[in-house]
Subunit: 149 residues, 2 copies
DNA sequence: CATTAATATATGTATATACATTAAATACAT
DNA sequence: ATGTATTTAATGTATATACATATATTAATG
């Protein structure tokens, strides 16, 4: 559906402005779809993101700042997300031996289990969320990579 | 820059999953850029969005639910955003005559003035944020419109 | 070695999102 | 016309973002 119709705005200043609005709106569409999947597991999209980063390093630990670097949103607060996940026993936190400023975070068996349950669901959902064929998805990835300069 | 390098993730499950992550990451990139522009005017991106919607109807008023419909993020809370803008005298709020459940919101001269100041800055910024030529922007808009099904 | 600078994490505050609930007004059905 | 359902806006709560600041630790410098 055309973005003009979705947000009931007749015209845009120019196609660049339209593209920005289109990207913001599409993001909202995706986040809404994803949140529905995470909801039953008591996870937010960003908490899921942290778990995936930790699984990527497992069984090695990951520091808070390294999680921050890999997060989709650079400005979000990894420290507090880790705290939430710890309260749910999905991660464990240990002072780093080599540098006592740092904190080593590891995903727990509980966390791995939850991710495993989610894997198939996410994969199917991702395909369904994007109403594009393979060529179009590749094109989209290329455009987004170029867009950020 | 390739999304793989930006978030230091070597591979994705498939190109669909990669596209989702790419869209979320790009959104964060845009919001960060835009926030910097709005900051000196003491506006958040969503507050700016509400003001633009109101200007689109000016001098006619717009109800809270109509603002909500037109917002990029359907789930955000128009009522509280309007309240913030009212505190800054950028909008005024009046009970609707025909339906006393509704509230008519109108942008004030102050609000229009701020938007006018921002117009050129936003236009230039939008072009600079997107490192794409005109053809690519059109392609991107088409893909995003199709993507949402 | 002492002092200063830099780094890692945590925390405080304001704003926004997501969702549920409430309260008032209106529409609708019998 | 009365009772029920729906709609509109506001509000409460939990979470997340954005940014500033604090605290502890390590690195760097004189």
């Amino acid at each position: 559906m055309r973005i003009e119709d979705e947000i009931k705005q007749k015209t845009f200043k120019d196609i660049y402005n339209k593209a920005i609005v289109n990207l913001l709106y599409t993001n909202s569409y995706i986040v809404t779809c994803q949140s529905k999947i995470f909801k039953p597991y008591d996870l937010s999209p960003e908490q899921y993101n942290v778990l995936r980063i930790l699984r990527g390093q497992h069984p090695d630990p990951t520091t808070v700042s390294s999680i921050q670097d890999r997060m989709l949103n650079k400005m979000s607060n990894a420290s507090r997300l880790v705290e939430k996940l710890k309260q749910k026993d999905m991660v464990c936190r240990k002072e780093c031996i080599h540098d006592r400023r740092q904190v080593d975070i590891t995903i727990t068996q509980d966390g791995l289990q939850i991710l495993k349950q989610l894997d198939e669901e996410i994969k199917t959902s991702n395909r369904n969320i994007l109403n594009l064929d393979e060529n179009e998805v590749i094109q989209l990835n290329d455009l987004l990579d170029k867009l950020r300069g």
